[in-house]
C-alpha cells in the first residue's frame, strides 16, 4: 500500500497537481469502518450536510506550473468518493424485476461475451457499439479503440469528447494541420498584454487557471466574450479589461466584426500573412460585409467595443503578446467549427500563432480530453491522431498491432449519430459504455434514454450507479483515479502521470483487465495487456510518426518530472510551443478558410400562451463536473449546489411573475425541466441559463437539440429556444429530490 503519491486531480483538463497521502491504516472501501482522522478542514458551507465517512486520503495541492499549488473545491473534495457508500464494488446484473443484483466476474464476462456474439451473429459486427470518455487515461482510451476494432470488429466507436472538443479540434486541424488545445505552455499567458477569452468561464470551471490571467488583468488587457456576466467576465471590471456580451449564437458574427476592423484599420501582420498563411484574400472578402455598426445590430455589442477589442489585440501582439482562447460557449453550436475557425482567422490576421509570445488556443474541458482525442476512440481516428481513412496510417497501426490491415474497420459514426442509431434497424443493438454518463450528458437526453432502453444489451463500466448505469443490463465496477496508474494529457498537450495511492476495493477491476479478458474470450487477434506501462509502450509505437507522436516519452522520464509536450518523437525533446517554424500542413503554411454565419432553422412555435419563449444556454457550475455523477455524490459540493437552478434576469422574471426560489418550467418540443429560479443581473434579459449537471426533471439536456455541426458532429448545446413559465401549483416537496444525496 502506497503511503503517498504525487498525482493529478481526477476531474478537469487543468489536471491540477496534487499529493495524496493516507493518514492511517486504511479500511476497505466497502466498509467505512473505523473512520481515519483526516486533516481536511470541515466543509465551510453553512448548509447542514448529511454525515459521510471521512476520506481515506488526504488531498494536498502540489506545486506545478499549471496550478501552482492551487486546487478548486472539486479537487479538494475528490478523495471523499473513494469510500463512498454508493460505490459499486461487484458486477451487477439487472433482473427481470429491474433490480440490479451482484453476480460473479466470471458470470459477468460470460454474459458480455455472449451478448457480443449474439448481436454479431444476428446483425453483423457493427451492431456492437462502444462509447468512451474523455476521462479515460491514454492507456485505456488507446486500448478501447484497439479493442473495439480488433476484438469486437466494429467501426461503431466514439466518445463524449464529441460533445466538447470536436469543433475546436476540427477547426485546428483545418487551419494548422494539427490540434493541440493550447499549442503553448499555460505559463506563457502570465506575461501577455492582451488575452481574449470566448465562451469560457474559467473562474468557475478551473479556478487555479485564473492565476495565469493576473498579469493581463493588472495591465487592463483581459477581454471576455460571454452573454452572461460570468465570474470570469466580472474580472474585467475595475479596469481589468472589456466584457463583450453578445446575444447567444452570435459569436461568429462578432469575430468577423473584429477581423473586419483589423483589416480595415491596417492592423494586419502582413509579413506573417505573406510568408506563413494561405487563403488571406478570400477571408478579406468574407469579413468585408461585417463592419462594426452592422455587427452591433446583429450581436448587441457596441461598435466601439468591437473596434477597441481589435486595437487591443493588435497592440498586445506588439507588446507582451496577445492570446485568443475559445471554450465550449462558442464551440458547442451547429456552426461551432466555423466559429473556432473565425477565432483562428482573427489570430492569423494578427500573426499570433507561430509567434514566440502570442497564440490561439482552445481550453479542453475533460480531464483527458486532449489525450482522449488522440489515440483512437474517435470514430474516424487511429492512434497518434491518425486518420482511419489514410492507407499509410492504417498500414502503420496494423503493423504495430500485428494484424492484416483489412482487419481494421473503416470510419464509424460520430457520437450523436451513434446514439441516434441505438436499437434502430442497422443500428447498434449491444452497447458498451465507458466513463460516460450519456443519459444526462447527451443532447436530446430523453431520446437517448429511449435509445438505451431499446438496446438488446447495455453494459456500463462505472464506479457509481450513474443515470446511464441505472439503465444497464450489466454494470462492471471499475477503478477510481487514486487506485490506478497511467498517463493523461492536459490542456497544454503535456503528458502527466497518474499514480496509485490506494488499493482498490476487492471487487473492482481495471478496464484494461476487463478488455483483456473479453478479448481473450472472443479469440481476438493481437494482444491486450492489463499493465498500463506495457500498454503505454505499445501506444508509443502506434503513435510514432503521427501528429500526436508520443514515441519519445516513457514512464521513467515522466516519473523524473520532465515536462513532456507532444509531438515528442523519439530522440527529440518534445514541443512546448508549436508552430514556431512551420504549421503542420505539407507546405508548412496555415490555411485560412472563409466562414460566414449560417441561417438557423426556425424553432417550433410556442404552444403555451402562459409561457414566454426565451433562449436557453447551458453550462457548468464551479461545484460540479460534467453530468455530476461524481460531484453530486460529494456531500460538500451537493450541499452547496444541491439542485439545478434556472438563472434569469430580474427584469424578465418580474414581468413573468417569477421570484427568487420559485418553481419554473422550461419546455420545448423535446422535453421539460422543472426547477427553481435564481435571479441574476449577470444574464441578458431574453436568455436563461441552466447547468447541465443534474438528472431527470432537472436535466438540461432534455431540452437541447441533437442538431450537429456539419464538420465536427458537435451538437448545439448553447442555443436552444425554451418556453418558460412559472409553475403555479407547488409540487410535492420531494419532486426536486432526484439527486441522490449519499
Amino acid at each position: 500500500m502506497t503511503k503517498s503519491a504525487d498525482t493529478h486531480c481526477p476531474y478537469c483538463a487543468l489536471q491540477c497537481a496534487m499529493t495524496l497521502t493516507s493518514p492511517a491504516e486504511l479500511a476497505p472501501a466497502t466498509q467505512p469502518g473505523p473512520v481515519p482522522v483526516t486533516a481536511l478542514p470541515a466543509p465551510a458551507s453553512p448548509a447542514a450536510a448529511p454525515a459521510a465517512p471521512a476520506a481515506l486520503l488526504e488531498v494536498q495541492g502540489r506545486d506545478f506550473p499549471t496550478n501552482r499549488g492551487g486546487l478548486c473545491r472539486k479537487g479538494w473534495t475528490s478523495a471523499t468518493l473513494l469510500n463512498h457508500p454508493g460505490r459499486i464494488t461487484e458486477p451487477l446484473l439487472k433482473g427481470p424485476d429491474g433490480v440490479h443484483r451482484p453476480i460473479s466476474w466470471e458470470h459477468a464476462l460470460d454474459l458480455a461475451v455472449s451478448a457480443v456474439k449474439d448481436a454479431r451473429a444476428r446483425y453483423g459486427a457493427d451492431a456492437v457499439g462502444v462509447f468512451g470518455g474523455g476521462g479515460l487515461t491514454n492507456e485505456k482510451a488507446y486500448m478501447l479503440g484497439k479493442f473495439a476494432r480488433l476484438a469486437l470488429g466494429t467501426s461503431r466507436i466514439d466518445y463524449n469528447g464529441r460533445f466538447c472538443m470536436s469543433s475546436a479540434a476540427a477547426a485546428g486541424m483545418r487551419a494548422f494541420g494539427v490540434d493541440r488545445g493550447l499549442p503553448f505552455p499555460l505559463e506563457a499567458l502570465d506575461t501577455a498584454s492582451t488575452i481574449m477569452m470566448l465562451g469560457s468561464n474559467v473562474a468557475e470551471t478551473m479556478p487555479p487557471f485564473v492565476q495565469h490571467l493576473k498579469g493581463t488583468r493588472d495591465a487592463g488587457g483581459l477581454i471576455v466574450v460571454d452573454p452572461r456576466r460570468s465570474a470570469t467576465a466580472a474580472f474585467t471590471s475595475d479596469g481589468g479589461g472589456l466584457h463583450l456580451q453578445p446575444l447567444p449564437g452570435t459569436d461568429l458574427t462578432l469575430l468577423l466584426g473584429i477581423s473586419h476592423v483589423v483589416i480595415h484599420e491596417n492592423l494586419v501582420d502582413t509579413a506573417f500573412i505573406e510568408e506563413r498563411t494561405s487563403g488571406y484574400s478570400a477571408v478579406v472578402r468574407s469579413v468585408n460585409s461585417f463592419w462594426p455598426e452592422r455587427v452591433q445590430s446583429l450581436t448587441g455589442v457596441p461598435a466601439e467595443l468591437i473596434r477597441e477589442t481589435a486595437r487591443r489585440l493588435a497592440a498586445g501582439a506588439r507588446q507582451g503578446g496577445s492570446y485568443i482562447l475559445t471554450g465550449r460557449g462558442v464551440e458547442q453550436h451547429i456552426d461551432g467549427t466555423d466559429t473556432a475557425t473565425a477565432a483562428i482567422n482573427l489570430s492569423l490576421l494578427l500573426g499570433l500563432p507561430g509567434s514566440a509570445r502570442s497564440g490561439y488556443g482552445t481550453l479542453t474541458g475533460q480531464g483527458n480530453g486532449q489525450g482522449g482525442r488522440e489515440h483512437g476512440q474517435k470514430a474516424d481516428q487511429l492512434p497518434g491522431y491518425r486518420k482511419i481513412t489514410d492507407p499509410a496510417a492504417r498500414a502503420h497501426v496494423a503493423g504495430v498491432w500485428g494484424v492484416p490491415e483489412e482487419l481494421i474497420p473503416g470510419p464509424g459514426l460520430p457520437a450523436v449519430q451513434l446514439l441516434k442509431s441505438l436499437g434502430k434497424p442497422d443500428g447498434v443493438r449491444c452497447l458498451f459504455v465507458h466513463a460516460s454518463n450519456i443519459a444526462v450528458a447527451s443532447p436530446d437526453a430523453n431520446a437517448v434514454i429511449d435509445g438505451l432502453r431499446s438496446l438488446d444489451f447495455l453494459m456500463v463500466c462505472d464506479f457509481f450507479m450513474s443515470e446511464t448505469a441505472a439503465e444497464a443490463d450489466l454494470i462492471l465496477p471499475v477503478l477510481q483515479w487514486a487506485e490506478e496508474e497511467g498517463t493523461l494529457t492536459n490542456l497544454e498537450g503535456r503528458v502527466l502521470r497518474r499514480r496509485r495511492a490506494l488499493t482498490p476495493p476487492a471487487g473492482a477491476r481495471s478496464e484494461l483487465w476487463i478488455m483483456a479478458r473479453l478479448a481473450e474470450a472472443l479469440d481476438a487477434p493481437s494482444s491486450y495487456s492489463e499493465d498500463p506501462e506495457t500498454v503505454f509502450e505499445e501506444l508509443r509505437l502506434a503513435s510514432a510518426g503521427g501528429l500526436a507522436d508520443y514515441s519519445g516519452i516513457d514512464y521513467a522520464m515522466l516519473d523524473r518530472g520532465e515536462a513532456a509536450y507532444w509531438p515528442y518523437p523519439a530522440g527529440s525533446t518534445g514541443t512546448p510551443r508549436l508552430f514556431q517554424d512551420r504549421f503542420a500542413h505539407p507546405d508548412g503554411k496555415a490555411v485560412m478558410t472563409p466562414v460566414t454565419p449560417r441561417r438557423r432553422r426556425t424553432p417550433a412555435a410556442n404552444p403555451d400562451p402562459a409561457a414566454k419563449t426565451m433562449t436557453l444556454i447551458t453550462g457548468r457550475l464551479l461545484e460540479h463536473y460534467q453530468s455530476g455523477a461524481q460531484t453530486r455524490r460529494v456531500t460538500e459540493l451537493l450541499a452547496s449546489q444541491p439542485e439545478a437552478q434556472m438563472q434569469i434576469h430580474p427584469a424578465a422574471a418580474e414581468a413573468m411573475g417569477i421570484t427568487a426560489g420559485s418553481l419554473v418550467s422550461l419546455a420545448n418540443e423535446r422535453g421539460e425541466v422543472v426547477c427553481r429560479a435564481e435571479l441574476s443581473t449577470a444574464i441578458r434579459p431574453e436568455t436563461v441559463f441552466l447547468p447541465f449537471h443534474f438528472p431527470e426533471l432537472e436535466s438540461a439536456n432534455r431540452l437541447t437539440e441533437a442538431a450537429t455541426d456539419p464538420v465536427s458532429g458537435m451538437p448545439e448545446f448553447k442555443f436552444n429556444k425554451v418556453w418558460v413559465r412559472p409553475v403555479a401549483v407547488p409540487l410535492s416537496s420531494n419532486v426536486l429530490q432526484t439527486t441522490e444525496a449519499s
Binding site: 486546487l71 473545491r73 485564473v210 460538500e636
Partner: protein, 520 residues
C-alpha cells in the same frame, strides 16, 4: 435541368446572390451570367466613405473575385451595361453589342444618387455628369475624388444632413479636412430624429470639428476655382459657403429605367411580390436597392404599411439569400420544394446607426411624439390597443440623449446619442420587438461604470473564496482561532487555494480583526 440565370448589376446584393447560386453552378444545375457596369467586381459600397478618406484600401473592399468566379464557371462581364431587355425573346442586349439568353433574369441594378436642381449643375437624371469639384459618393471613382481633397487638406462642403452625409463629414474631418455640412431644417437627420436628439447630435458633430450650417436652402454652385472647378455653394439668403469640393449627399433613387423600358411595373422601385418576382412576369426578379416589395394583391396586410425601398443593404442581402435558395431549387428541378419555401418575411423598419469612430448614434422608427403630447400619444389607442409611452433622458452637457417611444412596452421608435451600450441594447430590442424592462433606467445604466451593485464581502455569510466555497464567517473564525497570515488561513479553511483572487479580501479580514483586537 440547366437553367440560364442572368443577373443585371454587380453590386453587393448581386454578389451575395452569386455566392448563394455557386453550389447550383458547380453542380451543373445552372449557368450564371453577371453583367456589371462598373469595371470592378462587386465591392462593399457601404465603406466607400472610408475609402474616400484613406482609411481603407480598395482591395479590402472587394466582395467578389472575378477570376475565382470565372474558374467556377460563372460568366462575369465587367464594364458592360445591359441596354435593353427583350422579354418576348428572353434575352438581354448589352452595351458591347452582344446578347445573352435568360431563363431567369434578376435585376440588381441598385440605386443612384439624387442630384438636386442647382444652378451650375445640369444633371441628366439618367446619366449625370457633374462639373469639376462636385461629386456624389457612391462608387470607387467618387471615393478617389474625395480622397484627393482629404489628402490635400482641402475644404469639403457636404450637401445633405442625412446619415451618409454625416458619416462622410465626420470621417473627412477626423482625417484632417475642413468640413461643413449644409442641411435644411434646424438639425441634421431631420426626417429620422427628434428635436432633442438632433440638437445633441449637432452639438456632437461640432465637437468633432464639423461645421454645421442648418436651416439652409441651397440654390446653386459657383465655379471660380483656378481650374474652373467648384468654389462655393450658394444659399437662398444670398450667402455662400466656400469650399474646394462639394459632396452631394441628398439621398438615392432606385435605378428602374431598364425595367420600365421593358414594361415592368415600377413605383419608387421595381415592384415585386413576396417571392421577389416582378408583377405578372414569372421569369424576372428584382432584389436590393432597386426592388420595392409591394405585391399586386390590394388586400395584402403586409403591404399596407410598406414604405418603399430602404436604401439599406441588409434587406437586400436577405433577399439575395432567399432568392438564391429559391432559384437553386428551381434550377435543380425541385419546383414543388421551391413553391413550399416560406415567403420572405416583411422587413422591420430600418435602423440607422451612425458609422463613425468618434461618435455614437442610433435611431429607428417614429420619434416624432413628445412626452407631453397627450393627443398624439393617445391617437392610435383604440380597441384595447395601448397608447404610446415615452421615456426620455437628456444630458446635453455630456452629449448624451436617449428617447424610447413604446407601445405596450415594445419600441416603436428609439433615439440614442452618446450612449453606445444603450444604443446596442435598444437596437436589439427594437429589431426583436422585445418588451423593455419596466424600469427603463436599467437601459441607461448600461453605460455607467461597470461595477456590479451589491458586491462586496460586507455580509459575513457571503462567500469570500468562490473556488473553495469559504464564507467570510469561516475565515473570521479561523482568524479568531489564531491564523494571522493568508497562508495560515488557507491552510485552515482552504480559502485562497484556487485562483488566489481573494487574497486581498482575506488580508482585509485579518487586518480588521487585529484592528478590533488592538482597540479593544
Amino acid at each position: 435541368m440547366n437553367e440560364q440565370i442572368v443577373i443585371v448589376g454587380f453590386g453587393p446584393v448581386a454578389a451575395r446572390l452569386v455566392d448563394e447560386l455557386l453550389p447550383a453552378v458547380r453542380a451543373g444545375h445552372a449557368r450564371l451570367t453577371v453583367v456589371g457596369e462598373e469595371a470592378e467586381a462587386a465591392y462593399n459600397r457601404v465603406l466607400v466613405a472610408d475609402l474616400g478618406v484613406g482609411r481603407t484600401t480598395a482591395d479590402a473592399l472587394a466582395l467578389s473575385d472575378a477570376d475565382a468566379l470565372a474558374a467556377d464557371g460563372v460568366d462575369v462581364r465587367l464594364g458592360v451595361r445591359v441596354r435593353r431587355v427583350d422579354r418576348a425573346r428572353q434575352q438581354v442586349l448589352l452595351s458591347d453589342g452582344s446578347t445573352a439568353h435568360y431563363d431567369r433574369l434578376v435585376f440588381a441594378t441598385g440605386s443612384r444618387p439624387v442630384i438636386p436642381n442647382l444652378t451650375g449643375i445640369n444633371p441628366d437624371p439618367s446619366s449625370p455628369v457633374l462639373p469639376a469639384g462636385v461629386t456624389a459618393l457612391r462608387d470607387l471613382r467618387d471615393a478617389d475624388v474625395l480622397r484627393q481633397a482629404v489628402d490635400g487638406g482641402k475644404r469639403v462642403v457636404v450637401l445633405g444632413g442625412g446619415v451618409l452625409g454625416l458619416e462622410t463629414a465626420l470621417a473627412a474631418a477626423e482625417e484632417g479636412a475642413t468640413v461643413t455640412v449644409v442641411h435644411n431644417g434646424p438639425h441634421p437627420l431631420g426626417r429620422n430624429i427628434d428635436r432633442g436628439g438632433g440638437a445633441v447630435l449637432a452639438a456632437g458633430l461640432r465637437r468633432c470639428g464639423v461645421r454645421m450650417a442648418g436651416n439652409a436652402r441651397s440654390t446653386g454652385v459657383e465655379h471660380n476655382a483656378p481650374d474652373g472647378g467648384f468654389s462655393a455653394l450658394l444659399l437662398d439668403d444670398g450667402s455662400a459657403i466656400d469650399g474646394d469640393l462639394l459632396v452631394i449627399s441628398c439621398g438615392v433613387r432606385p435605378r428602374t429605367e431598364l425595367a420600365e423600358g421593358c414594361g415592368l411595373s415600377t413605383s419608387a422601385g421595381i415592384l415585386v411580390d413576396h417571392r421577389l418576382r416582378a408583377h405578372h412576369e414569372p421569369h424576372i426578379f428584382a432584389i436590393g436597392d432597386c426592388a420595392e416589395v409591394l405585391c399586386p394583391d390590394p388586400e395584402c396586410a403586409a403591404c399596407r404599411n410598406a414604405k418603399g425601398p430602404s436604401g439599406l443593404v441588409g434587406p437586400g442581402w436577405r433577399q439575395a439569400e432567399w432568392l438564391g435558395e429559391y432559384l437553386g431549387l428551381l434550377a435543380a428541378g425541385a419546383v414543388e420544394d421551391a413553391d413550399l419555401l416560406p415567403e420572405l418575411p416583411a422587413e422591420q423598419p430600418g435602423v440607422i446607426v451612425l458609422k463613425a469612430r468618434g461618435m455614437n448614434m442610433a435611431v429607428a422608427g417614429d420619434n416624432s411624439a413628445e412626452p407631453w403630447d397627450e393627443e398624439v400619444l393617445t391617437a392610435g389607442a383604440v380597441n384595447g390597443r395601448p397608447r404610446l409611452q415615452i421615456a426620455q433622458w437628456a444630458d446635453p452637457e455630456h452629449g448624451r440623449y436617449v428617447k424610447m417611444t413604446t407601445r405596450g412596452g415594445v419600441l416603436e421608435g428609439l433615439v440614442s446619442v452618446g450612449m453606445p451600450r444603450t444604443a446596442a441594447e435598444l437596437v436589439g430590442l427594437f429589431e426583436r420587438s422585445a418588451e423593455l424592462p419596466a424600469d427603463r433606467s436599467l437601459l441607461l445604466r448600461l453605460d455607467g461604470p461597470d461595477g456590479l451593485p451589491g458586491a462586496g464581502a460586507a455580509d459575513p455569510q457571503s462567500t469570500v473564496c468562490r473556488c473553495a466555497g469559504v464564507s467570510g464567517a469561516a475565515i473570521q473564525g479561523a482568524v479568531e482561532d489564531g491564523c494571522s497570515t493568508v497562508s495560515e488561513v488557507s491552510k485552515a479553511t482552504r480559502a485562497g487555494t484556487g485562483c488566489g483572487g481573494c487574497h486581498e479580501d482575506i488580508k482585509g479580514l485579518i487586518e480588521k480583526h487585529f484592528r478590533a483586537v488592538s482597540t479593544a
